[in-house]
């Protein structure tokens, strides 16, 4: 009798307990390697070209940069004894998979990650210290700095640039012509950007809008909006990434520009406010958007495939100038790798001008070597040169908690843009405070 009384309650308790604890426990194995500093990897530092002795290397990267990663790995495997086995992780799962692999010491030899996540990974000791190796690279001064800085902790370097993804201003030349704009002249100031977008919006064509914004994707929003602030000579973060200045003059100008477009009929494409980032590049690709900041990795494919002509320029500041978000992935050797010298062989090869040329420049992708950026695109589309020229003025924001403050779903930065463009403008200050609360050490 008492058994019948007990059972439902016990079942409810157990079901609840198992479900809850199962979730929280799955990231930990109870062992917990307490390594917190950025050293590790038992092998003695090898400089120069590393070792090419036919070792099987494992490598992780994330899905958005799949094409470039495959290009790199195939080119390396074809010319080396070492063979790299590439695994592509879904963008949203990267953090969790790296975390559980770190706890069980089963990280791959080579790990590429979104550059905004790199500072935190480095601080948590995910990477092997490569200061000596990187220092021994002949062309280290010729490499794009943002991705090296992101992995530098207390002077120790851990990462090199892997795939560079930059943001540029693109416009639809066909729509520009219909709107009576000069199809060869993109916006050079923030005001021109608004004017052009409004001119296209005024066409009042079905489904066509002036511009587009990925309102629910913090990652796309930093990628597209921050360059205007930098190009205007203002900062977004302080030097050590512990404080944000998202309520500065240039930032406010950016918000009100988009607010003006949001209030214009057809100013911002339908779904801008709800766009979570999964499909934010589609409307422009389909020829329905006049002008918008855009990832260059998605532009090159349109040169031949799109049904309209694409214009490319630097993302302008409030009164001119230009900048770009140096995004993409940095690459390093994990702390659990037992093949540091072999993995370094891959990285050193990738940094060579030859590899930069064949893997990136020849595919219209952005190279990390400034020499190749300047000379390697003679046969490339002139628009690629325009995009490459922005790299010199480009920036990568570095902050330990950048992911939580900006990129994560529902981040305070995302809420700030929602209010600044569509909601309560007066809330910008308090959202900036919320960003600061996350960034503060």
């Amino acid at each position: 009798m008492s058994a019948t009384r007990f059972r439902p309650r016990a079942a409810a308790v157990m079901a609840g307990g198992l479900l809850v604890t199962g979730l929280a426990a799955c990231g930990g194995d109870g062992g917990g390697g307490g390594e917190t500093t950025g050293s590790g990897g038992g092998t003695a530092a090898a400089s120069g070209e590393g070792v090419d002795d036919g070792t099987e290397l494992t490598m992780w990267t994330r899905a958005p940069l799949e094409r470039q990663a495959i290009n790199a790995v195939e080119a390396y495997n074809a010319t080396h004894e070492n063979q790299v086995a590439l695994e592509i992780l879904p963008n949203d799962d990267v953090e969790g998979m790296v975390g559980s692999a770190a706890q069980t010491d089963s990280l791959p030899d080579i790990l590429a990650g979104d550059v905004v996540r790199i500072p935190y990974w480095t601080e948590q000791g995910i990477f092997t210290d490569l200061t000596d190796q990187i220092g021994s690279l002949e062309n280290v001064d010729d490499l794009q700095e943002g991705h090296i800085d992101a992995g530098t902790l207390d002077g120790a370097m851990h990462t090199l640039p892997f795939v560079t993804d930059i943001s540029v201003m693109v416009w639809n030349k066909d729509l520009y012509e219909q709107a009576g704009l000069d199809p060869e002249a993109g916006p050079t100031t923030l005001d021109e950007f608004v004017e052009h977008a409004q001119a296209v919006a005024a066409l009042d064509q079905d489904g066509v809008a002036g511009s587009y914004l990925s309102g629910q994707s913090g990652g796309a929003l930093v990628f597209t909006l921050l360059p205007t602030i930098w190009a205007s000579g203002e900062e977004v973060l302080n030097d050590d990434g512990t404080e944000a200045m998202l309520d500065g003059e240039a930032a406010q100008a950016v918000y009100s520009a988009y607010r003006e477009l949001a209030e214009t009929p057809n100013g911002l494409g339908a779904g801008s406010r709800e766009e979570t980032g999964a499909t934010w590049t589609a409307p422009f690709q389909e020829g329905n958007i006049g002008v918008m900041p855009y990832p260059y990795t998605a532009v090159t494919g349109m040169f031949e495939d799109a049904a309209f002509e694409v214009g490319v320029a630097a993302i302008p500041g409030v009164d001119g100038g230009g900048s770009t978000f140096l995004g993409g992935d940095a690459i390093g050797i994990s702390r659990s790798s037992e093949n540091v010298d072999q993995a370094w062989n891959f990285m050193a090869w990738l940094m060579s001008d030859d590899a930069q040329q064949t893997v990136f420049a020849d595919n219209n992708d952005t190279a990390a070597s400034l020499t190749v950026l300047a000379d390697g695109y003679a046969d490339a589309d002139p628009r690629t040169e325009v995009a490459n020229a922005t790299v010199a003025d480009g920036r990568t924001p570095v902050a330990r908690n950048f992911n939580e403050a900006f990129n994560a779903a529902g981040s305070p930065w995302q809420l700030l843009i929602q209010d600044a463009v569509w909601g309560e403008e007066s809330a910008i200050g308090s959202h900036n405070d919320a960003v600061n609360a996350v960034l503060a050490p």
């Binding site: 019948t4 604890t21 426990a25 990231g27 307490g34 706890q103 629910q216 529902g410």
Partner: protein
């Protein structure tokens, strides 16, 4: 061998009641042997419970009192910092209130739907087997698969619902069903009702069929209407079943995760953030802090146990069941 078990169990039971009397030593060795054998029989269960249930809870309790980051692992005890950080998080209040609203909404909709479906298909009439199967099929689908299916249905690019809703004038053709807080909540509730109605219908059917036919016959003879029979016979005798389905539904909804993780990611703007989704975010997305995730898990566990016990009390299941 097998026949020994009930005999041995009975002997232990009667011995325990009647007390000791004569032949002590022999009985004692026999008792010890019985006890050992008893332990041998329950060992697998004990091991399972310990490994699958007690150990994880123990680990989570330790985690909740430690600084334990996703990438760095265990870094020393820091109790009670994790609990303080969790309770100070402005997102927690929103997540709790949304989870409660969602739980109330699904339960209020799901329970009556399941009950009436069960009444509908209870009798074995001609089409009822087909009907039962049709209603039950969604339950064979995992919540994650069902969520993906609905994600496609709700998609403004490929889903069939947008044009329909747009034609009815309920929404703009190009905006997303999941794009507004209300839309995202209702879209998820529809998914969950579709997925679970059949499951709860079966549970309720089992309860219905356990009610003796004679009661209804006697009531009919006394001239009780169908409504009176429903109120005076079905509902009271179904109480344990209703209590169980209520607890399952409420506990399940309080722990909602998959459907929101796939359909809304807690968006738009954190408006559909559930408590378990917040645990996931602490662990893998924002804080990358397993300690904080564990602390919130412990809080949820405590609340869940309390809610389930209160529910059983309120529905009077424990006493009634015990006395009958």
């Amino acid at each position: 061998m097998v026949t020994h078990i009930p005999a041995a169990a009975e002997r232990v039971a009667t011995d325990a009641v009647s007390g000791a009397d004569g032949g002590r030593r022999r009985r004692r060795t026999r008792e010890r042997r019985d006890a050992l054998r008893g332990w041998a029989f329950i060992t697998p269960t004990v091991v399972l419970v310990a490994v699958l249930f007690l150990a994880p809870i123990g680990l989570v309790l330790v985690m909740s009192g430690s600084q334990w980051s996703l990438l760095g692992g265990f870094q020393g005890m820091n109790s009670p910092d994790n609990f303080r950080n969790v309770l100070a998080d402005p997102l927690l209040g929103d997540a709790v209130s949304f989870t409660l609203r969602y739980t109330a909404l699904t339960t209020v909709i799901l329970m009556p739907v399941a009950f009436f479906l069960a009444l509908l298909v209870q009798e074995s009439r001609r089409w009822n087997n087909l009907l039962r199967t049709a209603i039950l099929v969604p339950s064979a689908l995992g919540i994650a698969s069902a969520s993906l299916l609905f994600y496609a249905l709700y998609s403004p690019q490929i889903g069939p619902l947008n044009p329909i809703l747009a034609r009815l004038g309920l929404m703009d053709l190009n905006s997303s069903i999941l794009g507004t807080p209300g839309g995202a909540l209702w879209a998820t509730v529809v998914l969950i009702v579709w997925r679970f109605a059949g499951y709860y219908m079966i549970l309720t059917m089992v309860g219905l069929q356990a009610i003796p036919r004679e009661l209804y016959e006697a009531a009919s003879l006394d001239g009780a209407s169908r409504i009176t029979q429903l109120r005076r016979i079905t509902l009271p005798l179904l109480r344990p079943t209703i209590a169980m389905t209520l607890i399952l539904s409420i506990a399940g909804s309080l722990l909602a995760f998959d459907q929101f993780y796939i359909l809304t990611k807690g968006g738009p703007n954190n408006s559909t953030l559930t408590v378990v989704l917040l645990i996931y975010r602490y662990a893998f997305e924002t804080k990358r802090d397993l300690g904080m995730a564990a602390a919130l898990s412990v809080l949820v566990l405590v609340v869940l146990v309390a809610v389930s016990v209160l529910q059983l009390r309120a529905l009077g299941v424990s006493r009634k069941e015990g006395d009958r």
